[in-house]
């Protein structure tokens, strides 16, 4: 590590079915807001990093070429990052590394999805591959297995998934970029929503969205602290494990545990629950919150996660507010989903999160995961410049 690096601009597009916008217009909406936030123009940007899930998700090949004009990228270095759902997280980390390595002073990174133009439920099936499952279970039919294993191992009661869904839907209702606005939903309504993949109910699942997120990362000598409150990048980590590794622990993935270990080591954090003020985690199914609390070291393995939730520990007034933006319950534009987690963490330490601001947040964790929870990216942001 080398150059200090900070987030100085964040822009989001409203999550919804954006049928009135092209992909380029959707991306530009987020990019222009990030530039406005940073007080910059496209001409101030040295390089662009675009994050996108596999092209099959919305059917546009090599979007980094098509989007060059919309993102002011003509004549500049452009890099495309592609993993799975985690890609937005990896994209911000790549942008940070370009700055930290001293290659560029200001990097714009952006991730988008326009799922209304594709069929993501079909795309994620991955059918027709040798040894693929001969039947179709649907997108939750894979993760529900791991959730049930968590429930068995941790002895989690049925209502934990309901409590997380309720909290995230209430948080999403005060996020102006949210696709869903279900702040009035009751615990009973969540518990009565249809069972899709036992133990995952309809109200435990995230929507499919169009959306975009852009962030501008800057070297310290290009940060004007008088006009922009920076979110300093304190630690970054990326880890990947084979989804098919023998006896892989799906409920507490090694890639996630390793990311947490590296992040805390880099930042010198010994007690994450006390030293981190809030966390924005990648939770497409509410039941994953207790799992990731344990994976990321906020709670003891095999049950600490659900007990923390049961005690209200992850609510906005809890010991560790989790998913202040509503998380994926606010929307899941797959590529941007990972970046939105990082953006929300950075917004918190910048004091920029509006109605969902955690009072006095100075250190925040962003987490993105993808594939079979086998790709993981984590970032720690701080209001104070690291030494």
């Amino acid at each position: 590590m080398s150059e200090a690096c900070a987030v100085i601009g964040i822009g989001q597009a409203k999550m919804a079915r954006r049928r009135n916008l092209s992909i380029a217009e959707l991306c530009r909406e987020a990019a222009l807001r990030a530039l406005e936030d940073a007080g910059l123009e496209f001409s101030d940007i040295d390089a662009i990093v675009l994050g996108k899930t596999p092209d099959i998700f919305d059917g546009l090949m090599m979007p980094e070429l098509y989007l060059a004009d919309a993102l002011g990228a003509v004549g500049k270095p452009v890099m495309r990052i592609s993993t799975a759902g985690s890609v937005g997280g990896h994209t911000v980390i790549q942008a940070a590394h370009l700055v930290q390595a001293g290659l560029h002073r200001r990097v714009l990174c952006l991730a988008y999805a326009k799922e209304s133009e594709g069929d993501i439920n079909w795309a994620v099936q991955g059918g027709g591959i040798p040894f693929a499952s001969p039947f179709v279970a649907g997108p939750g039919g894979y993760f529900a297995l791991h959730i049930r294993e968590y429930v068995r191992r941790a002895g989690a009661p049925d209502h934990i998934g309901d409590l997380v869904a309720l909290k995230d839907k209430q948080n999403a209702a005060i996020n102006p970029y949210s696709q869903l606005s279900e702040g009035d939903i009751t615990l009973e309504q969540i518990q009565q929503s249809p069972m899709l993949w036992d133990p995952v109910r309809y109200a435990h699942t995230c929507p499919s969205s169009d959306g975009a997120c852009a962030m501008i990362l800057s070297a310290s000598d290009a940060v004007d602290s008088t006009s922009t409150r920076p979110a300093w990048v304190r630690a970054t980590a990326v880890r990947t494990e084979p989804a098919t590794a023998p006896w892989r622990d799906h409920t507490n993935p090694l890639a996630g545990r390793e990311c947490a270990r590296v992040i805390y080591e880099q930042a010198g954090i010994r007690d994450p629950l006390r030293e981190i003020d809030c966390a924005e985690l990648y939770i497409p199914f509410s039941w994953m919150e207790p799992m990731w609390l344990e994976t990321l070291g906020f709670a003891a393995a095999n049950g600490g996660g659900w007990r923390m939730i049961d005690d209200g520990g992850t609510r906005p007034d809890g010991a560790l507010p989790v998913n202040m933006s509503g998380g994926l319950m606010a929307g899941n534009p797959t590529s941007s989903t990972g970046m939105l987690r990082m953006a929300e963490a950075a917004m918190q330490v910048r004091g920029q999160a509006g109605a969902h601001q955690v009072d006095g947040a100075r250190t925040a964790l962003g987490h993105a995961k993808g594939g079979a929870s086998s790709y993981v990216a984590c970032m720690l942001f701080d209001a104070t410049r690291p030494d």
Binding site: N121, G128, P130, F131, A137, G141, L196, P246
Partner: protein
Amino acid sequence: MSERGAIEDIPTIDRFVFPARAHYEVTAGYTLSGALRALVDGRFVGQVSRESGRVYMPPLGACPISATATTEDIELPNTGVVIAFCVVRLPVHGQGVKLPFACADIMLDGADTTFLGLIQECEVEDVRIGMRVEAVWKEAAERTTSLASVRYFRPLPEPDVDIEELRTGRQAAWEENRA
């Protein structure tokens, strides 16, 4: 003249069907070819890593534990254990199975990896983690180089297995499998 973006005198098209077809051929490769041909014969064939001792079903051609290639086939039985499962109640296009059905991670006896299998011949409420199951194959004429050659898995009248004990018990096999 109306505002830009507000052209209203054209018909609204919400959806159209474009009959595109992508024809492609898959080369399964050395490792998977053996396993897929075995399915035609109604047999499970995985691979064993002589470096780590782990047994792969389906075989991947590589062992992520030892980071070496696997080249040695190993015949596996028709029986295994439910490692995890869920009950699917959501209709999805192309499903082809009556709802609700149980979908399970199945680890064949002697293997260290799982694959997704359908559980039938029991109520979905009776499926358990640790349940012993066996494969029910299609008739020989119906079998292909696909996992669809297995009609489904059904429960065996045997006591459940403790997953943690099963995992611990595999360590002796890994030692034995090392060349």
